[in-house]
Amino acid sequence: MAADPNASSIFPAGTRAPDFTLPSGLGTTVSLKQYRGTPVILAFYPADWSPVCGDELALFNEVLDEFKEHDAQLIGISVDGIFCHMAFAEARKLRFPLLADFEPKGAVSTLYDSYRKDVGYSKRTLFVIDDQGLIAWSYLSPEGSNPGADGILKALDSLKNGAAK
């Protein structure tokens, strides 16, 4: 765990989140800008089918109701194709969209400084984007480490408190 809580951030708070459009299923796509007006959580991750109990997406799936209390939309992104995503989402009962950063491979991950070209998959990164499309918080997890959801919830809390002021 880094001593400086900002040491792992990727973009400074207030950076405009790059827009993108990616496949979410058979013939369907999701664009970041369609969520303007609500906070968005982007979770880049290396690959579908990692072990269940320590799995980041399984945890986020459980915490979804708390994200929803903040009106926040969670989106998962990896370089897996849509058929892989669909099978994975069904098997793990995931209740949020998984987007395929498949062709051109890793293009959106690269846009978010979340791609490892040497191995060909996304890093484990998190972005909380505010309702205006600005990045409020970002986090790069150390290799092999599940970040948990507390950082996301704290960022969503700050958004809410900021809006109340």
């Binding site: 109990c53 320590g54 799995d55 945890l59 459980e62 793990r92 009962k93 970040p147 919830l153």
Partner: protein, 175 residues
């Protein structure tokens, strides 16, 4: 991102003296095989540490992955109202493959509780609030899977093996 929130209080299920120099907290799921693996290890730690360690268990059921985990946690809470939280905790971790409602009620009966009452309480989710409170506190504390352990309020990121954990709790006791 790894401090226990809220700290251990009288609302928790605890074994061992409140003034023990080490408090080990586990966020666990009764249907999780890794928690099942950790169960005898925690027991061995308790034996080795004696009165120098207090052990606290909080619920962290991964309901989508483990459909029986939440009812099992509710049964532990139901048993807890009759002073049987820890015997039920042992019962559940030693019967991880049979945690459907009929079996849960049966375990209550085996522990001398009214099986019909306990089964009904779980079916009606009478103790779900406590389970959900534990889960939320885990999320806020940086629990990132099960089991997650905290030693004196700090998340333990080492292996769930006896030697590694004993070293960690001994170090905390010596602080």
């Amino acid at each position: 991102m790894s401090d226990l929130t809220p700290p251990v209080s009288s609302a928790d299920h605890a074994e061992g003296p409140p003034d023990a120099p080490v408090t080990l907290v586990e966020y666990g799921d009764f249907q999780c095989p890794h928690c099942g693996h950790a169960f005898p290890i925690v027991h061995a730690l308790q034996k080795a540490m004696g009165n120098r360690m207090r052990f606290v268990f909080r619920h962290f059921p991964l309901t989508q992955a483990h459909p029986d985990a939440e009812p099992a946690a509710e049964m532990a809470e139901a048993a807890g109202t009759k002073g049987k939280f820890w015997p039920m905790h042992t019962m559940l971790f030693t019967h991880q493959n049979a945690l459907d409602l009929d079996h849960l009620a049966g375990y209550a009966g085996k522990l001398g509780l009214d099986a019909a009452w306990a089964g009904d309480a779980v079916a009606k989710h009478e103790f779900l609030d406590k389970v959900k409170r534990d889960f939320k506190s885990g999320v806020r504390s940086g629990v990132n899977g099960t089991p997650t352990f905290f030693i004196n309020g700090m998340r333990y990121d080492g292996a769930y093996e006896y030697e590694a954990m004993l070293q960690a709790v001994e170090a905390a006791a010596a602080d």
